[in-house]
Symmetry: C3
Subunit: 185 residues, 3 copies
């Protein structure tokens, strides 16, 4: 194939990657994000939750959001109660990211909903949602691919690369990540 | 099991994760850290070493600490002489991290002492120390799990995920990381 | 071997790691970088391209450079037309990094040209260039090692660790990364 006939990635409709919000809204969130959420300053959790909700996120009770968390689009984010999100977590939610209650998303984990159809030279978006069910633990520096569901009470060990759905109640590990053994004795 | 009966991660005793220091001390370090150590500005190494020592770290001679290094708790950090630590290294030392002399911790490596007992629904901490012995090289973007000892003069190749101890004088690689061949000809 | 006889990593000739530019030039770039390129503020792409070119990069038309991209040495960087580089990408180009046209370097990818000869106790630099050919897609959170060439229209899936050359037109995956199947139907 001829790479010169390829449509530019940079020409993609911005409405696709902004979840339908106007550009001014997206920019407003971006500035709020870098001031209060993805920055290193330890702003109060209540302020961060307030901002997330104002920009359309559904956030339960008692979320603990550490500093330096990069949330791309709050209006495509749903988080349950008593969930914990660590430093340097990257939630790239071109599509919806749904995180349950009593979840732990550890430091440097990357939840990536962004994808392209690489079989088409124009690389159209093929984004897909990510779901992390109640009680699951997404380990440090793990990568969760577009379209993946992490089962209830599943454990993804640190450094894993999760390319497909992981079942409930299992410890899952590796690159690519596979279920290894039951979580509960 | 019923996730509603689960103890909140956010209720953990803060003294556990601060290594016994009072909250004001932890906050003081955090603010110093983001101003002078984890920030992008290339502050003089002498200033950074001075701060680390003031906050309880044991730091040898001639440490070279690049910008954007995230050191969680200096009072649980010991570094020997002539050691080099690269940009975006994350030292999450809820437990002690001990790095020897003549070590190289390359860019984006993550030394993670934080862990939970995931077989208990209340997810109690199960943190464990990390030791990197003299002359070892921890490669770029590698992950070192809680409790791991990297042997003397061992080499952890870039992108490896180290879940158990690695022996002296070996080149170690992969996810999970395994010893592959001797370092020295 | 005796680690006390080891030459210090910190004593390496700074000219090697700066690609022959004087120290003042390197520091000027570093300050420009943290103000306008690696920072979170969404400065206009034209400004970022202007700076990259002023500091010696060869940059084609229509480069889209997202915020928080860490480019070590622009005078050792060449990028073609219509290429897209995502947030938190780290281009550590002690040696030359050459990225073609219509490429996509996704979020958190790390192109690392830095290396040492670990068989020599003095750890001399053994840096090597990286080439990403036209139309290739380097997936999110992947790691590209020194000396690697990514073939034309190759796809490196997210979280892969690429330690050797990858062929044209193939989907490549894993740690270590291997060609898996043809890209085009």
């Amino acid at each position: 194939m001829n790479s010169l006939v390829r449509q530019d990635l940079v020409d993609h409709d911005p409405m696709v990657v902004t979840g339908g919000r106007p550009r001014a809204w997206v920019i407003s969130w971006y500035l709020m994000k870098i001031a209060f959420v993805s920055c290193a300053l330890p702003w109060p959790g209540k302020l961060k939750c307030f901002l997330l909700r104002k920009f359309g996120a559904t956030v339960g009770e008692n979320l603990l959001l550490k500093p330096k968390v990069n949330i791309h689009l709050p209006w495509q984010l749903e988080i349950g109660d008593h969930t914990w999100i660590g430093e340097e977590v990257f939630i790239l939610n071109f599509s919806a990211v749904t995180i349950g209650s009593h979840c732990c998303i550890s430091q440097r984990a990357f939840l990536c909903t962004g994808n392209h159809d690489f079989r088409d030279p124009s690389m159209p978006f093929r984004n897909a949602p990510i779901t992390v069910k109640d009680g699951a633990w997404v380990g440090a520096q793990s990568f969760i691919a577009p379209g993946v569901t992490i089962g209830t009470d599943a454990v993804i060990t640190a450094g894993s690369v999760v390319l497909e759905d992981m079942p409930d109640n299992m410890i899952c590990s590796g690159n690519p990540c596979r279920p290894i053994k039951p979580r509960w004795k």
